[in-house]
Symmetry: D2
Subunit: 345 residues, 4 copies
């Protein structure tokens, strides 16, 4: 089969590989019909993710059709249309029992990282019963790809951790795909203000279409002052960090209200300053999280009941044999205006 292979820092190729087989009774083999590229794939390609070694098939998102199942798989059978979770979960370990699937003793984010991933014609899914979800008949499978990673990430790490509540004020720093996913899913909880902060005017403009009630361009270094003005000098109840650099985490500390929450989504490569000298008495909660995909069943329900429409996140479409073009488009988002690129079998 064809697969997109990580070959070491800044090197990748579309290569021929043997089809994967069942290696444990709880495995399933899924024929990929749609996949996509994540910002994390770009991190890997920069050489920043040491758990991912050269030779690895990338990708941790996708939908497909079950091809084979191991003898221990009870919830799926060949022919089933399935959503693949970016996180694999045994369902039995201490962390899985508390729904913290991201830290499953034998799972977590392993797809396209420590085991081969979804940017291929077929993929082996370990712990299939807990790591796949049936796609309801008639559901839009393009939209469904957004539920592998980006929507649960925005929802769990940003919105749930950020305790977004009806009437509350929310600022999201970073209007990239994951920031937009937080913006979309924040609206499940009817916040009063949804302020989007970014350097890119085009993304800010776009965010209004996704439901932002206000936007702030942080290019002039006055973003904190702008947010304070919009919130009567109190700051926001929830500040969501969706970039992953010290400057944006710093901004979150400047704009969060007493009693508020900073919910970090960004993947950070460096430590940040935490200003406890002025925040120790501010009654804050600061959270970090690798997505658990524990909210995937809920997201599926909201998708089916049309309360969630992630389709507009898909800006470009490619066939699988054009996946190198897809990477090119996605990696140059500032120029191409790409959010998520859909790659079809």
């Amino acid at each position: 089969m064809k697969a997109l292979i990580y070959l070491g820092p800044n090197q990748k190729a579309l290569q021929e590989r043997p089809r994967p087989g069942i290696t444990a009774p709880t495995d399933a083999i899924v024929k990929i019909t749609r996949t996509t590229i994540c910002g994390t794939d770009l991190h890997i390609l920069k050489g920043d993710v040491p758990t991912c070694q050269p030779g690895r098939i990338l990708g941790h998102e996708g939908v497909g059709i079950v091809d084979l199942v191991g003898s221990g798989v009870t919830e799926f059978k060949p022919g089933d249309h399935v959503l693949i979770s970016c996180v694999s979960a045994c369902g039995k370990c201490t962390n899985c029992r508390r729904q913290m699937y991201s830290h499953c003793a034998t799972g977590g984010w392993i797809l396209g990282n420590s085991i081969d991933g979804t940017q291929a014609e077929f993929v082996r899914i370990p712990h299939a019963d807990m790591s796949l979800y049936p796609i309801p008949k008639g559901a839009d499978e393009d939209a469904m790809v957004m539920l592998s990673d980006i929507l649960p990430t925005g929802h769990e790490c940003g919105v749930l951790n950020g305790r977004v509540a009806p009437g509350a004020s929310v600022a999201i720093v970073g209007a990239g795909p994951v920031g937009l996913a937080a913006l979309i899913t924040a609206q499940f909880y009817a916040p009063g203000q949804l302020i989007m902060i970014d350097l890119d005017e085009a993304r800010l403009e776009l965010s209004k279409r996704f439901g932002a009630t206000a936007t702030v361009n942080s290019g002039d270094g006055q973003a904190a002052a702008a947010v304070m003005r919009m919130t009567d000098g109190q700051g926001v109840d929830t500040a969501i960090e969706a970039v992953g650099i010290p400057a944006t985490f710093e901004l979150c500390q400047e704009i969060v209200a007493a009693g508020g929450t900073i919910a970090n989504i960004g993947v950070h490569g460096k430590k940040v300053d935490l200003h406890l000298e002025r925040l120790w008495d501010r009654n804050l909660c600061i959270t970090t999280r690798l997505v658990d995909t524990s909210s995937t069943p809920m997201l599926l329900k909201t998708l089916c009941s049309h309360r969630l429409d992630p389709k507009p996140l898909i800006t470009h479409r490619f066939k699988f044999d054009q996946i190198l073009d897809a990477y090119e488009t996605f990696a140059n988002a500032a120029k191409t205006r790409a959010l998520k690129v859909l790659i079809e079998a």
Copy 2:
């Protein structure tokens, strides 16, 4: 009346002052029968608390007898024995309605800070109905002084924010009075492990009598390794920071388990490093808090039902005219082994 006055960095004196009077209908004047000294008073004396200006009567803890009440006070009358909360609360503003009394629009921690405090014969208590608590008949008023600040601080900032739960593992960094207050109140929730960490062997020894299940002397720089060994390499569910310096906050980051909480109690004078480069995916919650004393009614109930015994925190006793000696004893705790010093009228 006699009062302990802050006269500027490193200067204090016991001076004669006029008795306070009612200035707002919601005020009460309380005759102090017992007060104590807090670590924060020492901070003020170092000149580290800019809101507290020279000339101020110090002190934000105590019990006493109501002497006068304003026309708007409905819950208390002269002669009532009362516990004074270190935090004043109007009960009406947005923050008070969510029980975040520490950030009351016209209150918060003002006693012995921006208004005169309790280290005097009489004190004016603003918002008296919300800031005083009736002392049940027959209650031990010495023990009650511990409920003005230290016990709610340990409980709310450490234990509640730290989400201490039955069977869970807890480490408390800092075995001073507030760390011990966290240790005592953590036991309301039946944790499985209560590990106390400090540099002072005597305090560690003492903490065993207060309920620690294990102690770690961090003097050798191996505290993190010791905690990991005690927790099967997982780290603790809750790490409580009760010192207020970068090194101890760093230690908390090293020992907290995935999915765990770091609850900061310490008053920090400097920023700290937050290692998001390795914590971004650890599903942590980091909290800060100025005590709200919202749990004071509960603490009163546990005291009356003998589930809480804070009396052993009191190591020394003084008469009010010996208050300078009391400061001396409290400021040299390493030598005097002082935890809390009780100062009686």
Copy 3:
């Protein structure tokens, strides 16, 4: 001034009364600009509410302009436009501190019940600081009247108690004004299914415009079967009782899923059967509640941010001197199709 007086079972009149005055420092006198009639007013008129004695001015909803304030009122001054909460709260007692204002030691639902109410030119509001809310400039004061009682009631007793959550299934039994208020506010939490159940086809039709995703006419006695079909035989996560008779509470027990919630809003005059013989092992939660109006600040924010539009609940308008006609219209809702009648000064 003119006022609507309850004169005993089935008797009422529009009479001349003296204007109320300040009787406690925490009182305010409010000139009523808009009020409305509640189903509870009809209960009183039937003689079903023993705490309300003949001679009482009815009414517990309204907006107006502050005319006078007592010396202890700090949050309002004459001329302020205010929303009147149907529940009065001292803010200081044990129940108020836990935001259970409905059971305030000296407040609760007393307006138009044990003290004179809002269906008059002026009303005295006790505990004014906690029982009035400032109306933001430019807000629609007609819509605001819906926030005195009906919207917080639907939201708190139905939606919050019912733990309505994104993607969840909800059935509301009773499509009267309070059932519709639950329907409207349930949408803050993005439920997947919102099934409205009633006997009146016109109200069911109307409920679709308010956001119901499905309707069931219970006239044929097959409502439970219909709901089970709509929920794959599981029943609903949340069943909201908004009628107040044994038959509708019975229906809720038939349609609630294992692990679900029955949230009672209805005012019941008789005991009901609780089928513990088949529900003891169903992991249910059954709640009752008198509205606390603790969510009023949040509702104000959602109203101002246009996430809440209660205006369509107002079906009829009257001037205050037509209030007897308003009662006539409201009492004959089946014929008049009245939901809420707005009565303007």
Copy 4:
């Protein structure tokens, strides 16, 4: 092997049966070393549990040693000492994912009910990975038997559902084994009052040794009045029903405070009256639950850290071939003073 067989209403026998074998890859066969008898076994013997048909081996509690495991079992191997949960859980279905194992699509309470149980030399445990727990080395295996059912039942259905909190007032109606299990586990949360109510003076006396702060003999019909006196006329924050008849549920309705919770544990055979005519405005929460054993891992931790000591619940001991005597002793508890009878292999 020998097994205790239900032969129809009021009939049971100790009979020879073939040893069970693996029937699904997720099964384990456990050699029973200790088991016990539950009140539910007596219900079955009266013919009150239609899901349990004649011919069934009874018993859903016990500890033992793994004898065989299916190919899909990953967490256990022959020789492991294990605690058997009374509830079997697949871990994968919708209800298991929310930890409502009691309503597992292919599990729940099936042992000794719809499949053969633990009162035998060997038992087949379906979904073994999720339904067994490793017994820590050195743990007291007698005490451990109390964790199969009675302790999680008292804790989850009574204490957790009842939201027992520090300082709160709790009344437990019924001082039988499950009421005592609630009493024991309530103390994890430091309640201020723990009032035990029963008709049997000996059990009330015993309950004091298990931590009751007060007892009420309900024989004189004045129990409600007694509880109101003990709670300053407010009633209790939590009323736990641990009997299962209308009279005791009625009592709970009389003694629960506004804003309180009635947590039902009792297995009811008849409907009860719910007095909504006086409770609709009392802000109550009434819960039902079949134990999920989701708190078993926590209970194991508290047992190992000596915060939980269930051993005194064991009043009698028998060898397995004396199991009919054990039933006799347990069924005549009023005379024998039996709480739990331990049956050893």
